[in-house]
Subunit: 207 residues, 4 copies
DNA sequence: AGGTAACCGAGACGGTACGTCACGTCTTTAC
DNA sequence: GTAAAGACGTGACGTACCGTCTCGGTTACCT
């Protein structure tokens, strides 16, 4: 996963690159340092300067590869194991959605949740960065959910009148809202939400 | 509406207050300046220094009455006419909720929505400030919705198994999530969401 | 001793003064507070605000009676017992000068010396304040020395070619210079200086 | 002349220095701006902020290289041409001292004198800064005078009982005292003082 | 006895400057 | 050409005091 606000895609098979190549070691050091700093302080308080110092890296090296702090933090957080959202495996539409909710709630429980809330917060001030956030974090969840909702509408599990976009908002929204209003995310919430989503989609109450 | 992070309630009929009294003029100038700055730039970019300068006021005067920038901005934005959320008038539980959604979506459409999104974002970095946000913005909406949901559960409009807290998340969450993921808030969304909420509450589909 | 930078002389036998009279209690509290603060910190660090607070007095009360911090400090320090310089008693011109040197060195030994050095320093930035300093501290010493020098010139103890002003500089200068260059003022210095002054005045070396 | 409060001596032949080197241009701009400001206002009124602004330089750049305002001002003033005090050339001990007095009085006549008085004043509040003042301004004069006095004591020009330290105080003290008590420094004073110093040193009156 | 006027404490006010922090850029040497 | 180091101009931070200004309340003398 290449997390970045700008570069579309530097794909090229075997391009000649003069000069010293990018240091993979530095890249890792930067992301590691960022993650370590985030355990001690809020995204807000983490500075590029602190990351550079902790990583034993020049500030320029960070600015060369990431356009801003938010991008660094996003890459550091969202590429951690456990934060990926692989494509659907469930056969049953509703089970798929249920799984998505459970997984998301699990991912956002505890310290990680707070960090993600702060990241979402930090991205509000700039449209480009907000787009990058959507691309790097929400898009995958969005796609998975869209897949299941479409599937459910086709196989009669869900009401055909359901608007996919709004349905996704009804699923992701409550989780993110809980997170950002400082409330607990736990398994009970996950279960309750799942039930309400079922009703919202016009699903037969069979569970 | 007194927007502030801390003061609980200095209720006293005729308390003696030594010293020069607080300048109502300065207070207004500060909030006005803040509002005017917010039309030009993001919350992030607005500085206490800029507010003070634009208001023709010493920085100390701001710090004397507000603990941080977020509090100033919250008071400036949330006390504007049109941002209050008065207590329920609707007789019908569902109509009440529908009204709440419509009003909220209307309030968050356009520039105001962006500003609120940024405020919510700015509040993520500090628990105390986050609490102040909840108190100053979400609490009223929360209470209104809780009232209607309770009412609906009692009069049989809604499923009695509905968890009030989660139900509120399902109503407010999608709106806030839309806002903070950079999507449009419009009347169509409002209508669609209302329908899904009806289903989520286990309401009889009579509309 | 009325220490002040400005007032020339409001002497009037029984002038009518309407209104509440000046509070002697506050005046004393201010000077006491100043003295106490000066034992803990440099003149520089002492603020009118701190004096007012420590004295339990409004800032206005200080500004009503003293034009600036330096004046307060001068009055606080120079009116202390032991800082007065009474007029000459010695019969012998040289003995008089010797006594003046000894007294001055004694007064400026230890903490008091440091404070006086700081006062002199603080007065350099403003001509009016500097004049007040001269009037409040140096004038008396100056006059005493001038008296003895004149006397010595008349009775043949000192060379008649001696310029009184410069002679005074030769007497006071070394003491003040020692003080302000951070060196020790002690009895040995006092004795050495006295001897050199004798030579400088063209006195017969009889001691 | 390297004016500074602290650094002992970073002597190294060809030390490797990573990073962007110190900007000589900024250094000069800072000292120039300081000098220009000092022609308009007292040392007291000159602020680091004003220097930075006038020099077109960040405040940090000043704080990086000087520990406080006094150090900047000292370097700005004392490194000016005409303020250096080169080592003795005179063969005759008394002529040497006479020359030192004349030069010092010349240096401290007019605006420069006022500025130096203010610098000495500003340095009284802090021992470290006072030491720096002594090192940067007084030490050279001190050494020159000590050389001549020693010489004079050896060749019989001066009384052998003269204490070198006190003798220096008797020479420098009157000048500095005149300066700081707001009196004139002129050629007549210089001549008068020289004569008295001669007597003080126990020299034969041959002039 | 009441009026009037200057005093007093408290503390808010518009300011200026402080010294620090982080920003994003630039300039050097080394790899 | 990329890297670490670190200096640079910029701008905001939150704090400390400045000297002034309102407040309510307090003496005192003079009618």
């Amino acid at each position: 996963m290449q997390v970045s606000a700008t570069q579309p895609m530097p794909e090229k098979e075997h391009e000649f690159k003069a000069g010293r190549p990018r240091s993979e070691e530095s890249r890792r050091a930067i992301l590691d340092a960022t993650r370590r700093l985030l355990t001690h302080m809020s995204v807000n308080k983490v500075s590029i300067e602190a990351i550079a110092k902790k990583a034993g890296v020049g500030k320029t090296t960070i600015y060369r590869w990431w356009p801003n702090k938010q991008s660094v933090v996003m890459e550091a957080v969202f590429t951690q194991p456990g934060f990926q959202n692989f494509m659907p495996q469930a056969d049953n539409a509703f089970e798929g959605i249920k799984g998505q909710i459970e997984k998301l709630v699990r991912q956002l429980t505890g310290k990680n949740g707070r960090i993600v809330a702060e990241i979402i917060g930090e991205c509000q001030g700039d449209v480009e960065i907000l787009k990058a956030l959507v691309k790097n974090f929400f898009q995958d969840r969005y796609n998975s959910l869209a897949y299941y909702i479409q599937k459910g509408k086709q196989d009669g599990t869900f009401d055909t009148g359901v608007d996919v976009e709004v349905a996704i908002d009804v699923i992701l929204g409550p989780v993110i809202f809980r997170l950002m209003s400082g409330q607990n995310l736990d398994e009970a919430f996950s279960r309750n939400l799942t039930n309400m989503v079922r009703g919202a989609m016009g699903a037969k109450h069979t569970a």
